[in-house]
Amino acid sequence: MTASLENTEATMSEEQTDAEKGIISIQDFSFFYNKTAQALFDINLEIPANQITSFIGPSGCGKSTLLRSINRMNDLIHDVRHEGDIQITGNSIFHRLIDVISLRKRVGMVFQKSNPFPKSIYENVIFGLRVAGIRDRKVLDETVERSLRSAALWTEVKDRLHASALGLSGGQMQRLCIARAIASKPQIILMDEPCSALDPVATGKIEELTRELKKEYTIIIVTHSMQQASRISDRTAFFYLGKVVEYDDTQTIFSNPANSQTEDYITGRFG
């Protein structure tokens, strides 16, 4: 127990050094639903750039809540409140001069349930550009090709870009959603259990894609699957009851967890 605590403290102090300060810095962040029901307790996380960070933990422990705080999707819910701060490249996302719309352009999101619009594949990809008022045909065409290629979907759909997106398979739809998220060139991509509704083959494709994408983007992925977290992520945060119990290199978390709860969870003793 003592050893594990020491280990944790060591990790923490290492994280706090300026050189290693993450692109996303979450500081003493607490979150409340209905003004009183606390879902997150004093979260401190430094998420490094161009890496994949996975959030794991039993359901209801606040992973989605934290993820949705990073692009302020929680603003849509009435009667919520937060304490502490989240900074992206040193700027607070809650600052009153921050424009939520430009924040969401910098922080793309992929949801658990794929949610393409009832429009053509083409229109789906460029939705972010359309709402930003970009009309230049060449830019749009280029964006579509680039995004679909990055999302490993180009070869499959290049002949039916103007067909409805709702005709795609589940895995293709989810990759389309990823393409849509990267179309407006975000810095960060948030993924909330992107594979939970997909079969193993489609899941494999998305995982591969995610590994590809980390070259250009910082990725946070919430996942239910231990294997997935260990396969793709560089860092892992284990959540339990609204708190981050342990946050470390994925290797360390899975081979040598400092906290016994973490160990119990990843070995499948609860969760």
Binding site: N71, F117, G128, L166
Partner: protein, 526 residues
Amino acid sequence: MLQRQAAAGEPLVWLSSMGLATGIAMVIFLLGLILVNGISVFWPKRVVQLQVSEDGSERQLIGEIVKKQKQATSGDQEWQLYTANRDAFGHSFVYVPEAAIGEQSQPLDILKIERLEFGSVFGRALRIEQADAEPISLVGEADDPQLQEFVDEATALRAEVTEIEKSEIGRVNNRIERLKRKPANSAITAELASLTGEYEALAQKARKLRDLATQTHLIYEISDGRERSVAIGHIVSFYRPNAMGLSARCGRFLHNAKVFLLDAPREANTEGGVFPAIFGTVIMTIFMSLAVTPFGVITAIYLHEYARTGPLLTSVRIAVNNLAGVPSIVFGVFGLGFFVYFVGGGIDRLFFADTLPTPTFGTGGILWASLTLSLLTVPVVIVAAEEALSAVPRGTREAALACGASKWQTIQRVILPASLPGILTGMILAMARGAGEVAPLMLVGVVKLAPSLAINSSYPFVHLDQKFMHLGFHIYDLGFQSPDSEAALPMVFATTLLLIVVVVVLNLAGILVRDRLRRKYAGSTF
């Protein structure tokens, strides 16, 4: 034990299915009754000639048998006969006790003549009398083409007169009106004088044509042996109801139906067609839909997307729902007070001050009627649109917002397109409700006879201030307001049938549009 439990629900199933069956049976019965009565109006019936001996005196009757029934007081069987010839007898229907009826026959030489005035004639054609030529005697069916020639000529003349009266004189009149409104100067006075001259010339031509059409008469003999005459120009058509074969009968049926659908009404609406009423109903319903849909959708968007939940929103919702239950005549009164007197009166004072005290918009018209009905139907659209908006999955909204769309962009680009089919359902329901509404219209612009259509060929083509005819009001007018409501009864059924058809067609059109849209967003369960 298990079996008993499984069977326990059975009576309820029976009860509900019986309820359904009763409902369907009632609808089928209603539609069937209207269909049979409505369609049989156009079928040329056989005409019987009866020898009636009553109180020792013999008389002859000619007519169509309307129905046979028991007399209310004595219980004797009696026949109702449509004898037409209202101008000669003073009535068009008689009741004859069955016991008094002697010899019956269906003579082939009886003619049914449809006239512009006083309804139809049953009689035997005798001769054609002309002003400056020898009379032409008509003996039998062989002479019909001769008569037909005269009738055709007169019909052509009449069409010419109508054309002159309606469009040419109307146009000259319009120009005179417009010139009169301008400040007077010599050029205008001169033009006025020449226009007035043109008007006089046209009016004279019309009179002359009309005289020509009335100078030749057809002399015919009616059932009691009297000789009567009708100007050829007043004959719409004639035929021999008993001499017709099946194909001729079908042809006459189609002709009658066509006249009903495409002609303007005559004789206090009891004869002729109902085209202006069809047109008025359709145009009014379309205007109403165009007004109510955006209004309802905007309200629904505010209520659903922007308003914060709370007691205020709840009470607004309750108020909207209750609005749907307010008696429609209340909306009529509101429309009269607000649209006609307040808004219309204001418009008149501002823009049409030179024609006052004759109101332009300050009186009932198709615009005010459409707006009044759109108030009546707006709750339907609001409720349907709100439902459609909430049927758009949360994931879709979040996806749009996560892409950096503003709230309004999300609504405009994603939510509205996805909920369009549901919104159109609301519009269809509103159309169904509004197209059949009569009571409020009587206060805000419907009339029994409108001189011209609301959309026509005279400038500015769409006349929103114009009064209009409506099928629903037409039914009311025929059934309750016409001088001879018994004679108008068949028309009531035919018009009712038509109103149902028009409402169904309007709805089908809406449904078609909606399904096309739905196919565009096929499988929008995401």
